[in-house]
């Protein structure tokens, strides 16, 4: 895990996290701190799944 690939991985995760957090904001109706916290957590899970899926497919 050279620094470069680590940076790339972090950038990809961050990209997915921002996109999914925005999608969460669109999905919910009322915005309050707890919703944002749960949204951030779910977006992180989604970002990890997205990266794992891409690596699984390209790796094959």
């Amino acid at each position: 895990m050279t620094p470069r690939t680590a940076l790339l991985a972090a950038a990809e995760l961050l990209g997915w996290w921002v996109a999914l957090a925005l999608l969460w904001l669109v999905l919910i109706s009322t915005v309050d701190p707890l919703e944002l916290a749960v949204g951030a957590g779910s977006a992180l899970v989604g970002a990890l799944a997205a990266r794992a899926a891409r690596r699984a497919v390209t790796g094959s």
Binding site: W16, L20, L23, W24, L27, I28, S29, T30, D32, L34, E35, V38, S42, A43, V45, G46, A47, A49, A50, A52, A53, R54, A56, V57, G59, S60
Partner: protein, 246 residues
């Protein structure tokens, strides 16, 4: 006890049951009418506990014990599938060969997988506010994971989905549901009673006391159960073959 007499016993029993059913149906509230004795009480109870979605309140608060039964039914069904669809001695497991899928389909699968996963988590989290809940969100999240099989091949899905972890997740979520129930006992009230947590402000994520917790437990349990179930079906259909030489 010839066949004819047995038939007669069946017919009389059936006729009696039919008569009772018709009598009961005649006294049901009118279709689309405004008198709902059970509905009014359920809505009143769910509103007093600040749960916006009455169906979730019935599922996870007033009749939480029935949902415990439903959860164990799903758990037992998946357990039965795992036992039945296991690899027997005379079968061998062939490596699933990588499949070549059209680029747009693969890109679509990789794009929609996280979106569907997030939507599933959204449906589980807002179970007690808007239509949805643990069951629906869990199935959506589990189906999202299988976009990998549809968009690429089974080897890619196997790399991302360690089945053992999902079986543990299934068992953990079921026991989390039961432990939340027992916490009600320890708290001095009844099993699965919704008296532990404050009910929070209406129509927010933290409203409804233990309803969100039970929702999350059911969501995780259903998602893991569906993944384990589909894993066994996919194994049988894609990987496991009979020994050709007799």
């Amino acid at each position: 006890m010839t066949r004819r007499t047995r038939l007669w016993v069946l017919l009389t029993g059936g006729a009696g049951l039919a008569a009772l059913l018709v009598a009961a149906c005649l006294r049901l509230p009118h279709f689309g009418g405004d008198r709902h004795p059970y509905g009014d009480r359920a809505v009143h109870a769910s509103l007093t506990r600040h749960t916006a979605n009455t169906v979730s309140s019935v599922n996870f608060d007033q009749r939480a014990f029935d949902t415990l039964g439903e959860m164990t039914i799903l758990f037992a069904a998946v357990l039965g599938c795992v036992v039945l669809l296991r690899q027997t001695r005379d079968e061998r497991r062939a490596r699933p060969e990588p499949a070549e899928v059209a680029r747009p389909v693969r890109r679509y699968a990789l794009l929609v997988l996280p979106v569907a996963l997030l939507s599933g988590l959204y449906i589980v989290a807002h179970g007690q506010l808007s239509p949805g809940g643990g069951f629906q969100g869990g199935v959506v999240a589990a189906t999202a994971l299988h976009l990998l099989y549809l968009g690429a091949d089974y080897a890619a899905l196997e790399r991302v989905r360690p089945v053992g972890m999902y079986e543990v997740g299934d068992a953990l979520a079921s026991s989390a549901y039961v432990v939340t129930g027992i916490a009600g006992l320890i708290g001095g009230t009844a099993f699965l009673a919704n008296t532990l947590l404050p009910y929070g402000t209406f129509n927010t994520l933290s409203s409804g006391g233990t309803v969100p917790l039970l929702n999350a437990a059911i969501g995780m349990e259903v998602a893991c159960a569906v993944v384990v179930l589909l894993a066994r079906f996919l194994d049988q259909a894609v990987e496991i073959e009979e020994e050709s030489g007799r």
